[in-house]
């Protein structure tokens, strides 16, 4: 096992974590500010990927596609908030889960109706093709480095937005006392729509970025949604900082687990059995980590509200 391989795997873990952060940030923001469990968040991820693939195929430019993915996911988010979600804030979580689950089905079938059952094609932009040489002899794909860069930018941007701007102040105020800021004359309805659209746009961005690496197909959002929920539970529901730490933790745990556990078990059980046992345990690893963290910190690593 060379240094180069270990560096590559660490970067892979970081890149996976950053991608999860883009999903988890919106999810945790929506839960923190509005107290809403949004299962349809994975659908915005899918919408972003489809919008990017369709527009990139029509215009030939990945970047226009990326802009379209942000716009389409934000538009879908706004529409969903105004038409459906707005009616759910005062209901209990079960109603929210049911309604947003229905939204998953509606979005999935509508996407199939529009684009068909076959996966779409989306490639990475030529500017970011190829790999760069890193210290220690490692080679890392430029596009994945760019994803890490975009994730860091989004994290910094969100931090600035929440802690330094007037909008962020209102979001934080809405988080702690909704009636009070409404009484102070803040238009809470518009604020919620904006937060929801922002969360949806981040999910759409993640979908478009990942769509170029993976396949753009119906139902692509749900597996990521489950991981995003794991991330926000580990990080502390409602906390952006928690989402960032949780996402990187989950990304690294999953990647290094997949890489190291089969090797470890091969030593004891031989190649065929060791590989299957190690792989099976690796797929459970993040849930084991989640259970451990919850056992010691039931509210997650960074509880949002005291």
């Amino acid at each position: 096992m060379s240094t180069a391989l270990i560096i590559e795997q660490l970067l892979n873990g970081l890149q996976f974590g950053v991608m999860l952060f883009l999903m988890a940030a919106g999810l945790t923001l929506i839960f923190g500010v509005m107290g809403l469990i949004n299962l349809a968040h994975g659908s915005f991820y899918m919408i972003g990927a489809f919008a990017c693939a369709a527009v990139a195929a029509a215009t030939g430019s990945f970047w226009i596609g990326l802009a379209a993915s942000l716009a389409a996911a934000a538009a879908a988010g706004t529409l969903v908030e105004v038409a459906v979600i707005r009616r759910l804030y005062d209901r209990d979580h079960l109603d929210q889960v049911l309604a947003t689950f229905a939204l998953i089905l509606i979005f999935s079938e509508a996407t199939r109706w529009l684009f068909g059952s076959f996966p779409l094609y989306l490639d990475i932009p030529p500017v970011l093709a190829g790999a760069v040489a890193l210290p220690g002899g490692a080679h890392y794909q430029l596009y994945r480095l760019a994803i890490i860069g975009i994730g860091v930018l989004v994290a910094v941007g969100l931090y600035y937005l929440i802690s330094r701007t007037r909008l962020g102040m209102r979001i934080r105020a809405g988080e702690s006392d909704r009636e009070m800021i409404a009484a102070l004359g803040v238009d809470i309805g518009t604020l919620y729509t904006m937060v929801f659209a922002l969360g949806a746009a981040l999910a759409g961005l993640a979908g478009a970025l990942v769509g170029a690496l993976q396949s753009v197909q119906v139902g692509m959002g749900e597996p990521v949604l489950i991981l995003a929920f794991v991330v926000i539970v580990i990080g502390g529901i409602g906390s952006i900082k928690g989402a960032l730490v949780g996402a990187v933790l989950v990304g690294l745990t999953d990647t290094l687990g997949r890489f190291l556990l089969p090797k470890l078990f091969t030593v004891f059980l031989g190649p065929a059995d060791g590989a299957t046992t190690g792989a099976a345990l690796a797929s459970m690893l993040i849930y084991i980590v989640m259970a451990l963290i919850l056992a010691f910190r039931p509210k997650g690593l960074f509880p949002a509200t005291a």
Partner: protein, 379 residues
Amino acid sequence: MRKIFAAGLLGLSLATSGLAYAEPVKVGMITTLSGGGAGLGVDARDGFMLALKLAGDTEIEVVTEDDAMKPELAVQIADKMIQSDQVDLLTGIIWSNLAMAVVPNAVAQGKFYLSPNAGPSPLAGAKCHENYFNVAYQNDNFHEAMGNYAQNEGIKKMFILAPNYPAGTDSLNGFKRYYKGELVGEVYTKLGQTDYAAEIAQIRASGADSVFFFLPGGMGIAFVKQYAQSGVGIPLMGPGFSFSQDVLGAIGDAAIGAKNSASWSKDLDNEANKTFVEAFQKEYNRLPSVYAAQAYDTANLIVSASKKASVKDADAFRAALKEAQFDSVRGKFKFNTNNHPIQDLYVREVVKEGDVLTNKIVGTAFTDHGDAYAEQCKM
């Protein structure tokens, strides 16, 4: 979502002449028409319906339902089709885990089951049944073919990769049954995994001469794209599912040159296949995949059997199925003792024809190949 297709609308004139003594057959088709695996099910359904349309057979009625790739849903649909729709024969299932959930129960109730795709090893061996016919392949076949190819090509170091579920372990076992060179890596991934950066880094470090992988549907698309983007450059090979027509468009040019194995290819030189490929393109405006070809054969097998015997007479109908007297798009086709195919398996290469990616036959891996489980079948 229930659709009833009245089959063979165009063949009204033919029906009066050739099929005067054919008894009506009611077919229940359970296949995947929604969710991530829908591309495969849609192709299977379209291939099946096309065969009935071309045969001009109005006596075969098809009830189609979507299993959404869920075993429990497939079981419910099968029960409903047997109890209330009163079908004579079931077909259509794409996935092995769904087939394992549905088939044993359906054949135990005296219904026929004709598999257009899945061929799990238990159903070919110890749990085989006289009413279960597999028109596609036994699951290991395509992988065995690739193992044999790698062995014959003298490839020294292989890296092999499959998802950690029964068909995945069957796949790598099938490959290893014929490949005797050195394995520099054997990796099982999570089923449904979409990011393969960790595995690709291992492949880069392994020093392999070639990589064999079995990742059906979206998993394979993701893997091949990421593999090409990473610039590792070690040649890829896999079973036909990894480079089938339904995924090639989404993989893109990254697939060009990859070797893969299948029992069928669009350029197989026989009359039945030419008719099929041409008619499929005309009807659906896309190229058929191996799933469409297998389902097309399944439908033609049913048509051929129903001309010879009434489906109500189970023994006669079974014997008629077993004879397999239909023009297969695979050229020659016959059933083994365990009702699984004996057929040729080909090595194909992904090429670009105009703007379209497709497969071209570059060699034969096996001639008249059966499966490793037939001996365990006591029928």
